[in-house]
C-alpha cells in the first residue's frame, strides 16, 4: 500500500529524516515508535505532503506522491489524523466531521456523505449524541474520536495517526486503540505513530524504531516487544533492577 525508499526531509537547514525506508501492506497496522524528536511526526507530515521530501521515493498504491500537494494525497486515499487533533473548536462536532468530507464534495460524490456520516456515527455513538456541541467543549478522548471521524469521511485506504493517545487517561487510550483495531477489521490500513510504544505494539502487526531520523530496527510487534533495547528505551522497563536481589 505504502512504500517509502530513502526519504529525506526536514525544516530549513535541519535534516530530520535520513534515508528512511519502510512499507505497509494492505490491512496491516504498522507502528513507528521512537523518542521525542526522533522524526516520527516529520515522517507522517512528509508522507502527507505537508513538508516536501527532499529526496527518495514515496509510493502510495504504486503512485509516486512525494511531490504531490497534500490535498491530492488525501484524494488518493491517504489521510492523516494530526497530532493534537487540530479541530475547529468554535464549530460543532457535526461541522467538524463534515469538513472531512470535503474531498467527496470536490469529487462530486456528495451523495455518499450521508451514508458515511452514519457509518462514522456507528463507530462513535458518542459523537452522534454530541453532534450539535462545539468541538472545543469535548473531552480529550472525544476530541480524538472526532479527529479520527473527520479523517474517515475522506474514505481513506490508509489512515495515519499521530500520537492518538497523547494527553489521554489510560482508560480512554484503551478505547482509542480498540477503535484502531476496529478500523483494521473494517478493511483499513493503519500507520500509527506513538510514544506509548507498549499500547501501540500491543495492537500492531509490525513496527519500526526511529532514532534521530534513522530506522534502527524493523520487526514484528512481538519481536520489538521482546527486544531489550526497545524495552529499556521505549517501554520504561528498568532492566537493571530486574533479577537482582
Amino acid at each position: 500500500m505504502l512504500r517509502i525508499k530513502n526519504v529525506e526531509s526536514g525544516y530549513g537547514r535541519l535534516k530530520v529524516l535520513k534515508k528512511v525506508s519502510m512499507h505497509i501492506g494492505t490491512g496491516e497496522i504498522v507502528t513507528i515508535i521512537g523518542a521525542n524528536g526522533a522524526g516520527k511526526t516529520s515522517l507522517l507530515r512528509t508522507v502527507s505532503g505537508l513538508i516536501p521530501a527532499r529526496s527518495g521515493e514515496i509510493l502510495f498504491d504504486a503512485k509516486e506522491i512525494g511531490k504531490m500537494p497534500p490535498e491530492k494525497i488525501v484524494f488518493l486515499g491517504c489521510s492523516l489524523v494530526p497530532e493534537g487533533r487540530q479541530l475547529f473548536a468554535p464549530m460543532t462536532v457535526k461541522e467538524n466531521i463534515l469538513l472531512g468530507a470535503y474531498p467527496q464534495y470536490r469529487q462530486k460524490r456528495g451523495d455518499r456523505v450521508r451514508d458515511d456520516l452514519e457509518r462514522v456515527y456507528g463507530l462513535f455513538p458518542r459523537l452522534r449524541e454530541r453532534e450539535r456541541q462545539l468541538a472545543g467543549t469535548l473531552s480529550g478522548g472525544e476530541q480524538q474520536m472526532l479527529a479520527i471521524a473527520r479523517a474517515l469521511m475522506a474514505r481513506p485506504k490508509l489512515i495515519m495517526m499521530d500520537e492518538p493517545s497523547m494527553g489521554l487517561a489510560p482508560l480512554v487510550i484503551r478505547d482509542i486503540f480498540t477503535i484502531v483495531t476496529r478500523l483494521r477489521e473494517e478493511g483499513n490500513t493503519v500507520l500509527l505513530v506513538e510514544q506509548n510504544a507498549k499500547a501501540a505494539l500491543a495492537i500492531a502487526d509490525r513496527g519500526y524504531v526511529l532514532e534521530t531520523g534513522r530506522i534502527i530496527m524493523e520487526g514484528t510487534a512481538e519481536d520489538l516487544l521482546s527486544n531489550r533495547e526497545v524495552q529499556r528505551a521505549y517501554l520504561g522497563r528498568d532492566l537493571d533492577s530486574e533479577g537482582t536481589m
Partner: protein
C-alpha cells in the same frame, strides 16, 4: 509445504524493499554499537545514511574470519552481554574460534529459519526428529534442536557418537527424520548393515544433512541405504549456524532465507561479484540479527547463485551445493581443521620447523586423520622406544585437544615424506567426496 509462506514465496520486489529496510537498519545499528564497523566505515568515508540501495552493499568493507578472531571474544557484539541469552563458538581452539552471541529474539528468529529448512526437507510436526549433531558450543546441535521444537516435531537430542545405541533409539523410538552430518549418516548406514538390521525395521523417511560438503554420489548412497529423502542444508556460526539455506525435496539447490540474509558471490581473487550461476566465494550480510550482526562476511565457501524458479514455489534464490573452500581448511567430520594450525602446533612441540604430512581417509563413513611426523633419526627400536612412544602420545594428545578432532600420529623416517619433485606434500586427502 512451507513454514512461513508469506516470506518464503515473497514477491521479488516486496522482498527487495524489505531487504533494503533491514539492511539500512542493520547498518545504523552496527555503526552505532560496534566500534569495529564504525572504524572501518569511517576509514572508507562511508556513512550509513549514504546507503540507499542493495547494490550499495558493494561499497562496504568485507569482514573476515581474522576480523572475528581479532575481536575475540565479544568485540563484534552489538548489544551488551546482559541481553545475550546464548553463546556459541565455531570449531577451533579457544583463541582461534569465532565467538557468537544470540539475544532472545535471535534465538526465536533462528528457530524459525531452521523450521523453514526442516519443512522444506519434508519434516512436519508429526515427525520424530533425531538430532545427531554434536550439542555444545558448535551451533549444529542446538540450532536444529530449537528449529525442530519450534516446528512442533518430537525431538530426540541424541547428539553424536555411540552409534549402536543411536540405532537402537532410532528403531525403538520410531525416528522418522535423521539430522546429522552426511558422514554420520553413512556411518549409521554401515552400522545398520553390520548389526544385521533391515532398513524396514526403521521408520526413517527424511534425512537433513549439513556441516560438511558431500557429493551427489554420497547422497545416492545414503538415500538407498536408509530408504530416505536426503536434503542438504547450510549455515555457519559466524552468520547464525544452520538455517541460512536448505534444499527442498526437489533437491536442486539450497533455498536461501533471503529475508534474513543478503548474499553475494564474489571472485575470491578480484573480490568482484561474479555473474549469476558462476562459482565463487559466498559472502553474507545478516539483516535481522541483534547480538551478532555481520556485514559482508567472507565465508570461504565456494558456491553459485541461481534464480528462484523452483517447482516447490519458493521464490528465494538458491545456492548450489558447496563446491569446496577458498582456503586450505579441511573439513573433518563436520569440523574445520586448518593444516597450518597443525604445522604451528608441531612447531611448538618440536621447537623447530616440522616435517610432516597429513593423511585423511574415509574408513566406512568416518574421516580418519593421520599425521605423519618425521622421526628425525629418533631410534625406533630398543630401550629408547618408550621415549618415542611418549613423544607420539604427547603430539597426539596436543593435536587432538587443540583441533577438537581426534587424530592419529605416526613417527616416520624422513624418506617416507619425500616426494618425487622434492616439494613437500603436506596434505593427502584420500576421501572421495
Amino acid at each position: 509445504m512451507y513454514w512461513e509462506p508469506d516470506k518464503e514465496c515473497m514477491d521479488r520486489e516486496e522482498l527487495e524493499q524489505l531487504q533494503l529496510e533491514r539492511f539500512q537498519s542493520t547498518l545504523n545499528r552496527v555503526y552505532a554499537h560496534v566500534p569495529f564497523y564504525r572504524k572501518k566505515f569511517d576509514a572508507l568515508g562511508i556513512a550509513p545514511e549514504e546507503i540507499g540501495s542493495l547494490s550499495d552493499l558493494a561499497r562496504l568493507p568485507f569482514t573476515t574470519k581474522e576480523d572475528v578472531r581479532g575481536n575475540y571474544p565479544y568485540g563484534l557484539f552489538a548489544v551488551p552481554l546482559r541481553e545475550v541469552v546464548r553463546i556459541h563458538a565455531s570449531s577451533g581452539t579457544t583463541e582461534t574460534s569465532s565467538v557468537v552471541g544470540y539475544t532472545r529474539n535471535d534465538i526465536a528468529m533462528w528457530s524459525k529459519l531452521v523450521a523453514r529448512v526442516l519443512v522444506a526437507g519434508g519434516v512436519t510436526k508429526d515427525d520424530v526428529v533425531q538430532v545427531s549433531f554434536r550439542y555444545g558450543l558448535f551451533t549444529g546441535g542446538f540450532g536444529l534442536h530449537y528449529g525442530a521444537e519450534r516446528l512442533g516435531a518430537s525431538v530426540i537430542p541424541a547428539s553424536s557418537g555411540n552409534t549402536v545405541r543411536q540405532i537402537q533409539i532410532m528403531k525403538d523410538f520410531k525416528t522418522t527424520a535423521l539430522v546429522s552430518t552426511p558422514s554420520y549418516a553413512m556411518l549409521v548406514a554401515d552400522t545398520i548393515r553390520e548389526m544385521g538390521i533391515p532398513v524396514s525395521a526403521l521408520s526413517l523417511k527424511y534425512g537433513l544433512f549439513g556441516g560438511e560438503p558431500w557429493s551427489e554420489k554420497m547422497r545416492q548412497e545414503i538415500q538407498d541405504a536408509l530408504g530416505i529423502v536426503a536434503t542438504d542444508n547450510y549455515g555457519l556460526s559466524e552468520v547464525i549456524g544452520p538455517g541460512v539455506s536448505g534444499e527442498c525435496i526437489e533437491r536442486n539447490g539450497l533455498h536461501i532465507n533471503e529475508d534474513h540474509f543478503l548474499v553475494e558471490v564474489i571472485d575470491p581473487k578480484t573480490l568482484q561479484p561474479v555473474p549469476p550461476g558462476r562459482t565463487g566465494e559466498l559472502v553474507i550480510t545478516t539483516l535481522t540479527k541483534e547480538a551478532f550482526p555481520m556485514v559482508r562476511y567472507r565465508t570461504r565457501d565456494l558456491t553459485s547463485l541461481h534464480a528462484g524458479d523452483c517447482p516447490c514455489g519458493r521464490t528465494g534464490r538458491r545456492m548450489s551445493r558447496l563446491a569446496g573452500r577458498t582456503d586450505e581448511m579441511l573439513i573433518i567430520r563436520g569440523m574445520k581443521v586448518s593444516p597450518s594450525k597443525i604445522e604451528s602446533l608441531l612447531f611448538e612441540i618440536e621447537g623447530k620447523e616440522p616435517n610432516y604430512r597429513i593423511v585423511i581417509d574415509r574408513k566406512g563413513a568416518m574421516d580418519e586423520v593421520t599425521v605423519l611426523v618425521d622421526a628425525n633419526g629418533e631410534p625406533s627400536f630398543g630401550e629408547e622406544r618408550r621415549h618415542v612412544g611418549k613423544t607420539v602420545e604427547t603430539i597426539r594428545k596436543r593435536l587432538t585437544h587443540e583441533l577438537g578432532v581426534a587424530v592419529d600420529v605416526k613417527l616416520v623416517e624422513s624418506k617416507t615424506l619425500e616426494t618425487a619433485d622434492g616439494k613437500p606434500r603436506r596434505v593427502i586427502d584420500h576421501r572421495k567426496l
